[in-house]
Chain length 392, copies 2
């Protein structure tokens, strides 16, 4: 166990702009990202052998399950009746769909697959969206008692402050930094900078988390083309290799965890990915981590080993996670500024790494980026997926 | 493509009785089937390296997404933070979870994985359940106009009657035969026989489909333990090998298909599975096929190549699909009599094949069963999965 039978690589990426797409349906979002990824890879849909789709809750948001076959149809892939598989793990649906597609290609079943992530969240009013997003936490032990996702992350933030001296200003520094990055990303939902004053004094959502501590609800889709390394080298001049992939789980409810200032799922997933890749946290130049809330980013950069436990907020304040500092964290703007259409997020993270490792990131380019890490969680960390990519 | 890097085998199976479980939650159903499968495999949960869960719509039925991590937690698997992945493809969720688990083991990532399928459908009133099940069809082009799953299968039945001379009595023969089989299955929802008169003259659901033409709503869970062949031979005296696995897709809506008396997804999935296994329809001794409606079984046994197109109803009338006839179809009782807790169905089919191939099926044992096929569809055939198992 722990070793893949074949090497795999990404050869194409595509994304819609994230935001409020009142005039586009779930299908249309999927079409746009899918075709962009195939165009970027320089292949026609007839070459695609399978499709994986990450979506959190098309059932609740759209009353539509079975969406992978639907996406396959609208991008013309059912002409060959290609396999189409939906993966769901709340906000980790996209990263996990990528992980499953890697296993598919590694198994030898398919050579070229498309992976898409999509969510359409703006068709319901916001308090309903909040309830639907909370279905990624434990309904029986949390949701039933009124807990929503921001309130659960607020508990984690408060405990992190108590144990490690993290401050509300540390949280604000995460938001300000990710908005600086998002302002350089033409596909981000929020392409503007914010000030520390705006972040610290924003309307309260769940104490200590204010509006700028929370990623937005978004519509959007992202897609990529994955294939075995032999095929990748035939089709692409700059394939990006999957060096490592790891997944981990933890209890859905916070109450069943010994500790809520760290996520065991992230620690396990990153350990597995680092082992497969044969690298450590110090080798990572650029990381896309799951900042669904500002506290999530602080916990993530500690659990991933970039900074020691308790130092995440201080490191952010010192500027060590800004563009071209110690380690660039969320050059895309992260969930906070790029936007967070649940199932699309994990794929958008991979796409940002691919663009960075190709050297195509323009104003937000991380210098000498040769190895990158993506970290995607579901709910409050019941699922975590870590993928490590590298230049071939 | 098309060949797996490692051989995989099933070494343990477990199932709850299917039916109305008013006093058991989704979690408790998952626990019962999971522990039974581990007990059957003779291994403790500490040996399990990953979990796959097939569930259609815990979001709509229970307002709970992210259920694979939840199931991992309740069976004690989050102690090691093992990966837990949910797969969704409407009624094909279980068969597709099995397919993905096969790819995982074949890829080399894990050696021993558990696959579970579960659904809890009785906590909502029946017209709401009908709406939720319809979310596996196309909501924009079918559901919005009032189409439910039975009405769509009624269209297929009517067209099959028109084109091929299939009769309402042919449909009834499917139900009567599957109830005969279900009466011999101690885990079936309906363990009683029905008469032709009962089936033909039952209350109409969607003309020409009456009550006995439709599989029931059910609560239930099924689980199995899968591993690479080397590990299987160390742990088991009678591992059952996965000889072939195939998946196919088609448009979600019937309107976008050239033909509705055949499912291109089934034809493609079975072609892929037969090719991988190196066998043909004539080699199959026992098959579990997706009889969500009686017409579904008739279409399936034609599309799988057991009988020529249009002969499915006549062959059923001739008794060629009964226990120990030409080919035994649905010895478990099928979805009709065993019950149809959506995500659990595909796993229950595999479990029945394993029990048959081990020779442990008692009164419903298929003589000389050495190779079996399972066929699982989502919605009206937007997804199809075919798995072929054989005695080692």
């Amino acid at each position: 166990m722990g070793k893949l039978a074949r090497d795999v690589a990404v050869i194409g990426v595509g994304q819609t702009r994230f935001g409020e797409h009142w005039n586009l349906t779930f299908r249309e979002l999927g079409i746009e990202a899918g075709f962009r990824a195939m165009e970027d890879a320089g292949i026609s849909s007839s070459r695609i052998e399978a499709l994986y789709t990450g979506t959190m809750s098309s059932g609740l948001f759209l009353n539509q399950e079975h969406v992978s076959a639907m996406i396959a149809e609208v991008v013309g892939l059912t002409e060959n009746q290609i396999p189409a598989t939906r993966i769901e793990a709340a906000g980790a649906s996209g990263g996990l769909a990528f992980h499953q597609a890697i296993l598919d290609v590694a198994s030898g079943l398919h050579d070229i697959v498309v992976v898409g992530g999509a969510e359409k969240m703006s068709d319901v009013v916001s308090n309903v969206a909040t309830e639907f997003v909370a279905s990624g936490a434990d309904q029986a032990w949390e949701g039933l008692f009124g807990a929503t996702m921001p309130s659960l992350f607020a508990l984690m933030a408060r405990k992190h402050m108590h144990d490690h001296g993290t401050t509300k200003e540390h949280l604000a520094h995460v938001a300000v930094k990710n908005h600086v990055h998002g302002a350089k990303n033409p596909l981000a939902q929020f392409q503007r900078e914010i000030t520390m004053d705006m972040a610290v004094n924003a309307a309260m959502v769940a104490d200590p988390l204010g509006m700028y501590d929370c990623a937005p609800s978004s519509d959007g889709s992202a897609s990529l083309v994955l294939c075995d390394m032999k095929t990748a080298k035939e089709l692409s001049d700059n394939p990006i290799r999957v060096a490592g992939t790891g997944q981990g789980s933890d209890s859905l409810s916070l109450a069943n965890r010994e500790e809520i200032t760290s996520m065991r799922s992230t620690v396990a997933a990153s350990r597995r990915a680092y082992e497969m890749a044969g690298v450590g946290p110090g080798d990572i130049k650029v990381a896309e981590v799951h900042d669904s809330y500002t506290i999530s980013e602080i916990i993530a950069i500690e659990d991933l080993g970039f900074f020691k436990k308790g130092d995440g907020g201080f490191a952010t304040e010192r500027g060590e996670t800004a563009l071209n500092s110690t380690i660039t964290v969320n050059p895309s703007g992260g969930l906070k500024a790029r936007g967070h259409p649940l199932g699309a997020t994990g794929i958008a993270q991979i796409n940002e790494l691919v663009i960075q490792l190709r050297g195509d990131a323009g104003d937000r380019q991380v210098k000498d980026a040769n190895i990158g890490l993506a970290h995607n969680i579901g709910g409050t960390g019941g699922t975590a997926v870590v993928n490590i990519l590298e230049v071939v």
